[in-house]
């Protein structure tokens, strides 16, 4: 890799454990600015733990090692985590102290297809709409780093495809560095520049995916990588 590339995220010997049980074991990782990284791993392999460490949300873990990352970070959770007592637009601009926050939030809502839901209560939105609002809240801050923890994991297949396309369209201009945790190998293959597999507390695999967008599931390069990733996740392709 090019030595003078600026790295947005640098992780060195990062370890995390809970009550003596090691979840992350001396992880080191460099992520260039603007790279879209997908993080795969079996359930319980520590994906969320790694993301929460980078988000600064893990004061309940025993921590070792260090990392650097941009100050301007947004986190997208699997559940939308909108405040039920704030309208959609107030959720999207929550805590923003720009004078044009409202106008910017309106524009962002229109961008995610929720232009007509600005003054609705979150409880009146569908799961996909909530996640759109959550995405709008994350991207309105123009983050340098977007941490996403299975953001589409709870959505139905069609909605998930639409959200993936929406995400790609929205980050095309902003170009934040992205770490997307997912359990969906195809999602990783279709979206990411680089795919990591977390296993036994460390990064077990690290693949670059240089194929141009838009991608299709049936492209040969992707099929080969898919078989390999599934195998490393403990699923033999072709057994279904």
């Amino acid at each position: 890799m090019n030595a003078h590339l600026t790295h947005a995220v640098v992780i060195r010997d990062l370890s995390r454990s809970f009550k003596g049980k090691t979840v992350l074991d001396h992880i080191s990782l460099d992520i260039p600015a603007g790279q879209f990284v997908a993080l795969l791993g079996e359930s319980g392999s520590g994906k969320t733990t790694l993301l929460r460490a980078l988000a600064g949300l893990d004061d309940d873990a025993e921590s070792k090692g260090h990392y650097s990352r941009p100050d301007n970070v947004s986190v997208l959770f699997q559940d939308s985590r909108l405040l039920p007592w704030k309208t959609v637009i107030d959720n999207v601009k929550l805590g923003l102290r720009r004078p044009d926050a409202r106008a910017a939030a309106e524009a962002m809502l229109a961008d995610v297809g929720l232009g007509d839901k600005a003054t609705a209560w979150p409880s009146t939105l569908s799961g996909g709409q909530k996640q759109r609002a959550s995405l709008a809240r994350s991207l309105l801050r123009a983050p340098a780093l977007l941490l996403a923890d299975e953001p589409f994991g709870a959505l139905d297949a069609l909605t998930r495809l639409r959200m993936q396309a929406l995400l790609m369209r929205l980050v095309e201009h902003q170009r934040p560095t992205i770490i997307l945790v997912t359990h969906d190998v195809d999602e990783a293959l279709l979206l990411a520049d680089r795919i990591l597999v977390l296993k036994d507390g460390h990064i077990a695999e690290d693949h670059a995916v240089s194929l141009a967008h838009p991608r299709h599931q049936h492209q040969t390069e992707l099929s080969l990588l898919r078989a390999r990733l599934l195998a490393s996740l403990g699923v033999e392709a072709g057994n279904l």
């Binding site: 949300l57 947004s74 959770f77 985590r81 007592w85 929550l94 805590g95 409880s123 801050r141």
Partner: protein
């Protein structure tokens, strides 16, 4: 008038027992089946606040008690809210304050009256402090509970979004604690009302619904006592509905859940 629908009729079922009791009372007294100086008819009770010189004092007494419950309740309620917020959010405050408050709470409310009269005398101060105390405990407990139950995922969001301290209080902790605070408010309002009337009744001097009932009792005026008690109940219903309205007005996002 709108036609009564099935639901309206159903909601009238609850009125059967009180109406029955009222007719029985009316029948028994006006037919002269029971007699005595303490026996009064419903008509007498309804008329006394309008037609009787001592009975007319009811209105001024009610006004005074209402002012007292609002003033004392506001003071005690705000202190309860603040203290509950602090102990709900901060370990240090919880360690320093909660055990004391929780043990003081074990003292029956009316046992405070002798102590308070010793400290604050037989006047307005004792009544106000007692009312404040009655409102304090329910709001303190409810707020403490509500703040402790703010969902961790939302706290994470606040920290990820770098919310300022003030924003966290006003947009996260207080709204999240509101459902619990509302329950506390309903209890506090009734408790403060009972506290006000109780203090007036026990201390006896000065104006107020409690003293009005006490003086009716001393004059063996059963009609005045009953009119006072009915007003006391109506005042409670009024305050309760005010508290409910306030809660609803302050939490419009629960409209579809009600």
């Amino acid at each position: 008038m709108a036609r009564l629908n099935a639901r309206g009729l159903l909601s009238l079922r609850g009125a059967v027992l009180p109406l029955g009791a009222l007719s029985l009372w009316w029948m028994v007294t006006s037919l002269g089946l029971v007699r005595g100086p303490l026996v009064v008819t419903p008509v007498q009770v309804v008329a006394v606040p309008f037609l009787d010189a001592s009975g007319r004092e009811l209105w001024a007494a009610l006004g005074t008690s209402m002012a007292r419950v609002l003033a004392g309740g506001l003071i005690g309620g705000l202190i309860g809210l603040t203290a509950g917020y602090l102990t709900g959010l901060y370990r240090l405050a919880a360690l320093g304050l909660s055990p004391t408050v929780h043990s003081i709470r074990q003292v029956a409310l009316f046992a405070w009256i002798p102590l308070l009269t010793a400290w604050f005398g037989n006047g307005e101060a004792t009544k106000l402090v007692f009312t404040a105390l009655s409102a304090f405990f329910p709001l303190f407990l409810a707020t403490e509970q509500g703040i402790r139950q703010v969902p961790r995922p939302l706290v994470d969001v606040a920290s990820v979004l770098n919310l300022t301290y003030l924003t966290r209080i006003t947009k996260l902790y207080l709204p999240a604690a509101l459902p619990s605070i509302y329950i506390g408010l309903q209890i506090a309002v009734l408790s403060a009302w009972i506290g006000t009337i109780g203090a007036e009744y026990a201390i006896g001097n000065g104006r107020g619904l409690g003293s009005f009932i006490a003086s009716g009792r001393d004059q063996f005026r059963m009609d005045i006592v009953l009119a006072g008690v009915i007003t006391l109940a109506a005042g409670g219903v009024l305050l309760n509905s005010l508290a409910t309205r306030l809660s609803h007005a302050l939490s419009p996002w629960t409209k579809d859940l009600r």
